[in-house]
């Protein structure tokens, strides 16, 4: 049962963005999003050629979110006390360490790789198989990486926007990354009654937990968007670029706003970046 819908995915982005921002001061020098600049150069506009199809899947995911994921997440949020939910989160995060480590190494982020490896060692032992996160308190905050980010660091553009059922926003670069990450993930190779059982359970629990963590935020975004689909697309790209840059801001890359106003007569089309 795959459960992580668009909001789950978006929720993941929010969590990761928040974590990244938090680890900013301690994290090693980060990769700068070369891919970001190339994306912009390559695409003037929304870069969403399949928008009608994407909007259809977006609505479909919203529907399943309303009837399934959100109720389950709300129930989970209400029934399981916070320490329990935190342990679920810590456990799942710890299980992801091999994937993060692989991508840290592929990006040449040696310090961050060291952090990931130390965190895994500490949290698996002192943290009782990852149920607790003592490493964060010892100056080793969590960060996330995935193969989509690795591709971006080496200059792969995002590609046209794609919204797929269940997964949510997954343009070609990030969809490829998602698939490749499965191979880095030891859980993929654990055989229960079927080989897919363990990864699917993890996927579902992860989706529910992340959805539960963003109930208010996602409601608020929906309520305050004039175009929910376009807002999610934009948030996905901005948060993704921030993750790729490991939280480092690139202020030289901002649009030109110097002569921007309603009164000048010169044609003025500020670059449509996102």
């Amino acid at each position: 049962m795959k459960l992580s819908l668009e909001r789950g995915m978006a929720a993941a982005r929010f969590c990761f963005a928040a974590l990244l921002a938090a680890s900013l001061s301690l994290a090693a020098p980060g990769g700068v999003a070369i891919a970001q600049a190339q994306d912009i150069a390559a695409s003037d506009g929304e870069n969403d050629p399949l928008e009608p199809m994407n909007r259809y899947f977006f609505e479909l995911n919203k529907f399943f979110d309303t009837i399934l994921l959100k109720p389950v997440a709300t129930w989970y949020d209400g029934v399981v006390p916070e320490p329990g939910r935190d342990s679920v989160r810590n456990f799942l995060d710890n299980l992801r360490s091999p994937v993060i480590l692989a991508n840290d190494l592929l990006q040449g982020e040696w310090d961050r790789a060291g952090t990931t490896a130390s965190r895994f060692g500490i949290n698996t032992t002192v943290g009782l198989l990852g149920l607790f996160d003592p490493a964060a308190g010892w100056g080793l905050p969590q960060h996330s990486e995935d193969f989509g980010q690795t591709l971006a660091v080496y200059g792969t553009p995002e590609g046209p926007y794609l919204f797929v059922p269940v997964l949510g926003p997954a343009p070609p670069r990030d969809l490829t990354g998602f698939v490749v990450d499965q191979f880095f993930d030891p859980l993929t190779y654990i055989y229960w009654d079927r080989s897919s059982t363990v990864p699917l359970i993890r996927f579902a629990v992860n989706g529910i937990d992340q959805r539960a963590r963003s109930l208010d935020t996602l409601d608020q975004i929906e309520r305050t968007s004039v175009d929910h689909y376009a807002t999610v697309r934009n948030l996905y790209r901005q948060i993704r670029n921030n993750e790729i840059a490991n939280g480092q801001r690139d202020f030289d890359d901002l649009p030109d706003i110097d002569n921007l106003n309603f009164d000048t007569n010169e044609p003025n089309t500020p670059g449509m970046r996102y």
Binding site: A21, Y154, G155, T224, R249, D258, N261, F262, P270
Partner: protein, 219 residues
């Protein structure tokens, strides 16, 4: 392969550079100090407004609207949010758009900001950008032990002082977020500007409805 190589070497050069720019606090010029002072004042006022438990939601909204009009470059923000459709509205549409967008921003951000009541903003650094712009980096550190939230302020000179143009919260520029939604509404409605006005009216209504629910739930 060559793309990979250039990506790599660029990255090696760019990473330390970015760090220097962002963190190695260059000797603060008068202008960056002014920018920092501006952000400190505005953020303190904003937090005071949302933390004032004695104020009614309406009073809070009025106070926030005043703060925004005094300290944000609303015209530039409104113009920016139209993207390539800046020249689309006629005079009357533009006037109504200006009003609606102000309403919309006040209502949306009063709701979104309630998370941060009684918190304090810590300034991390500031830098000038071009001749009349500045960026101030800051973060909100929570007393509850929650992860800090990074907030970057993009300021632009207007009428002899700094005004807010855009704010970045954990990596998301808010005006850019709104622009993508606004332009999308106009585009999906075949360039019809009235569609955006209609959406803004509806959304303002929905935010108001959401506020009521929120207040009931909190009590």
């Amino acid at each position: 392969m060559s793309a990979m190589m250039s990506g790599l070497s660029l990255r090696m050069l760019a990473a330390p550079l970015a760090i220097c720019l962002a963190f190695a606090a260059a000797p603060a010029s008068a202008s960056t100090q002014e920018a920092i002072a501006f952000v400190e004042t505005v953020s303190e006022e904003a937090i005071a407004i949302i933390s004032d438990k004695s104020a009614s939601p309406e009073e809070r909204e009025v106070a926030f609207r005043t703060l925004l009009n005094n300290n944000a470059d609303m015209d530039r923000i409104a113009a920016f949010a139209l993207g390539q459709y800046l020249r689309t509205p006629n005079e009357a549409q533009r006037t109504e758009y200006r009003e609606l967008v102000e309403n919309f921003i006040v209502k949306v951000y009063v709701t979104r900001l309630t998370d941060y009541n009684n918190e304090k903003l810590t300034i991390l650094g500031a830098r000038e950008r071009g001749e009349n712009q500045a960026i101030v980096q800051s973060e909100i550190r929570f007393t509850t032990g929650r992860q800090p939230v990074s907030v970057d302020w993009w300021l632009v000179q207007k009428d002899g002082g700094y005004k807010i143009f855009d704010v970045n919260v954990v990596g998301v520029w808010l005006a850019q977020e709104q622009r993508s939604a606004f332009t999308s509404v106009i585009r999906t409605n075949g360039g019809n500007f009235d569609a955006l006005l209609q959406h803004l009216r509806t959304q303002i209504g929905r935010v108001e409805a959401g506020e009521d629910i929120g207040v009931t739930a909190a009590n």
